[in-house]
């Protein structure tokens, strides 16, 4: 579906945007491939929406270049760029019926009437609202309104579809349904999509690649598993998924066996360590990668800890653990495995992990 041979549909080169002295977007560069679903993920104020707005032409970069389908579009107004955009609050025209809303971009492009009608019908069928054409937007539910907004942004098959937190105003169940729906449309229509969200699970579910934004910069860009399994910065490790952080001291020299002192115990660390030996570091380990064992069947290894609380999650259990240093960690196990270890709050445990799952970042 992603067609690398066609070259990027969108390329950003060194985009910057300042508000006064504050850099909202600070040197952002990336390429979006044909048919790719790329998500900008980040907390509010991280520059992701501003970047999207500059791609749409609704805001102007201070410097840098935006190249859409091989042509620089920096100075083109939004209506001359071949894009479609879905807004968080739908931005449906309240005085037009659903059909007129969807027909609007075709009208602006001078599509012949009969053809336009046919395309509108097809677009409404595509989003599952074939019978709602004559209603006004306010007569639809939030989820239906967002489907109409999708149909309106896709009906003219723009080169690039932009979505600014399109599901942000919907409740959880509806959001998850529409995530799959958008995913399906992306697959079937083979569109290139730039998607903005602050919801990391939404980003992981939907994207081919994710660009994590913080402080106006892209911290890391990669596939969901890249970000989750091999975060490039401590921010990414903390923002994408859940992570236990603990101060640690890296032992040895580069190139040697990699170990770190955690609560006084030497433990294995991933080869990919990003902090220099001998410097203070922070170790990041995902809750589901922690192994718990009772001290009795211990072979001497592992960080000692106390089980403080056991939280029932239905399909899994969360173990709240206190390390000798006082930090609290969290470990998650699937129900069956959790029941097999037979631990209760107050029990002493030992924690260990496979070395590939512990990443060290500079403190």
């Amino acid at each position: 579906m992603i067609s690398p041979e066609l070259g990027p549909i969108l390329e950003l080169r060194g985009i910057r945007k300042h508000y006064g002295r504050h850099a909202a977007v600070d040197d952002v560069s990336l390429k979006l491939r044909h048919g790719e679903f790329l998500t900008f993920l980040g907390p509010s104020g991280s520059g992701k929406t501003t970047t999207l707005m500059m791609v749409a032409g609704l805001q102007q970069p201070d410097s840098g270049q935006i190249i859409l389908a091989g042509k620089p579009v920096d100075r083109l107004p939004p209506y001359k760029r071949d894009i479609g955009m879905v807004f968080q609050h739908y931005a449906l025209f309240p005085h037009m019926t659903v059909r007129r809303n969807v027909a609007f971009p075709l009208e602006m492009r001078g599509t012949p009437r009969a053809e336009a009608e046919r395309m509108v019908t097809a677009a409404l069928a595509m989003v599952g609202l074939p019978d709602h054409g004559d209603r006004l937007p306010r007569q639809l539910s939030g989820g239906q309104q967002q489907r109409v907004a999708l149909a309106r942004a896709m009906v003219y098959r723009p080169a690039l579809l932009l979505m600014d937190e399109p599901l942000g105003a919907l409740d959880k169940a509806l959001r998850e349904g529409l995530q799959l729906e958008i995913k399906r449309l992306h697959r079937e229509q083979r569109m290139s999509v730039l998607y903005v969200t602050h919801d990391q699970s939404e980003a992981l579910t939907m994207s081919d690649r994710i660009a994590v934004f913080d402080g106006g910069r892209i911290q890391q860009i990669g596939t969901p598993s890249d970000l989750y399994e091999r975060p490039a910065t401590r921010f990414v490790a903390g923002f994408v998924g859940e992570t236990n952080f603990v101060p640690a001291e890296l032992l040895g020299r580069e190139g040697e066996a990699r170990r770190a002192l955690v609560a006084g115990v030497p433990m294995p660390v991933s080869a990919r360590f990003l902090a220099a030996p001998g410097t203070p570091a922070v170790l990041a380990i995902r809750p589901e990668r922690l192994r718990l064992s009772a001290p009795a069947d211990d072979d001497g290894g592992g960080v000692p800890a106390e089980l403080v609380d056991l939280i029932y999650l239905g399909n899994a259990r969360r173990f709240v653990l206190r390390l000798p240093g006082g930090q609290e960690w969290s470990a998650v196990m699937q129900a069956e495995a959790a029941e097999a270890v037979m631990l209760r709050p107050g029990d002493a445990v030992r924690l260990s992990w496979n070395e590939v799952h512990a990443t060290a970042f500079p403190a």
Partner: protein
């Protein structure tokens, strides 16, 4: 809490009666059969309305009022809408000050505005003319139009225009297809209100009018000041009816726009 609710309901009822009762009384008296303003009337008749229909003074006054209110409403709405667009969408330096300056006739007593108009009209010969009257009425209605259209413009979601732009609409098309239709109810309702205000305007008309150019309120004013009979109540009732119709039309405009307030 119940006690406070009750107190509030009582206060609302009293204020409601206070606001409406005089108008209801006038309405009833206008159908009186008696030549004096006794209440309750001894009997009912339409003689005061017949009186009105046969009195050339009232017919002339009505005609003058219409000749003034129509151009006033149109001009005021056109100028006010344009000004509101400029003030809110124009990114003008000092827009806040300019807007406040255009609102000034709301806080300057009508008697001062009218006396001033009389002075300047005397030098250019506009006193007693329709043109002079219309200009005076535009001055007092313009602030309402600017305020109404301005607040509608402010509450218009700017994302709709942004959405239109991303969908391929150049600014002129976005304005024509999105902004203008969404603004239309506010523009029409401000035109309606300008017409009603012009129809009601007394002081400006009193100053810049003449014995031959008398609007309905001026005619009413001179009648009330003399010995009045229920004919005045009849015209007052008709004015009240006009206001009710205008109010109903306005409500209809709002509902069509889907405004639930």
């Amino acid at each position: 809490m119940g006690r406070w609710r009750l107190l509030r309901a009582l206060a609302c009822t009293l204020v409601g009666i206070y606001l409406i009762a005089p108008l209801v009384v006038v309405l009833i008296i206008s159908f009186s059969s008696a030549a004096f303003l006794r209440f309750p009337p001894p009997g009912f008749s339409l003689r005061w309305y017949a009186n009105l229909a046969n009195d050339p003074a009232w017919i002339d006054a009505t005609w003058v009022s219409i000749q003034v209110l129509v151009p006033t409403a149109v001009l005021s709405t056109a100028l006010g809408t344009a000004a509101a667009l400029a003030l809110i969408r124009g990114r003008l330096p000092g827009a806040g000050f300019l807007g406040a300056a255009l609102m000034a006739p709301l806080v300057v007593p009508g008697i001062i505005t009218s006396a001033g108009l009389y002075i300047i009209y005397r030098t250019i010969g506009l006193n007693g003319t329709l043109t002079g009257m219309v200009i005076g009425h535009v001055v007092v209605t313009l602030p309402y139009v600017i305020a109404t259209v301005g607040s509608a413009l402010r509450s218009l979601d700017p994302r709709l225009e942004a959405a239109a732009a991303t969908l391929g609409a150049p600014p002129s098309a976005a304005f024509r297809r999105i902004t203008l239709p969404l603004l239309a109810p506010a523009v029409l309702s401000s035109m309606l209100f300008a017409a009603v205000l012009s129809f009601d305007e007394l002081i400006v008309s009193l100053f810049v009018g003449s014995a031959r150019l008398r609007t309905v309120p001026v005619q009413m004013w001179s009648n009330i000041r003399g010995d009045f009979d229920p004919t005045v109540a009849a015209i007052a009732s008709l004015c009240f009816l006009v206001a009710l119709i205008a109010l109903g039309l306005e409500a209809l405009l709002r509902r069509r726009n889907g405004d639930r307030e």
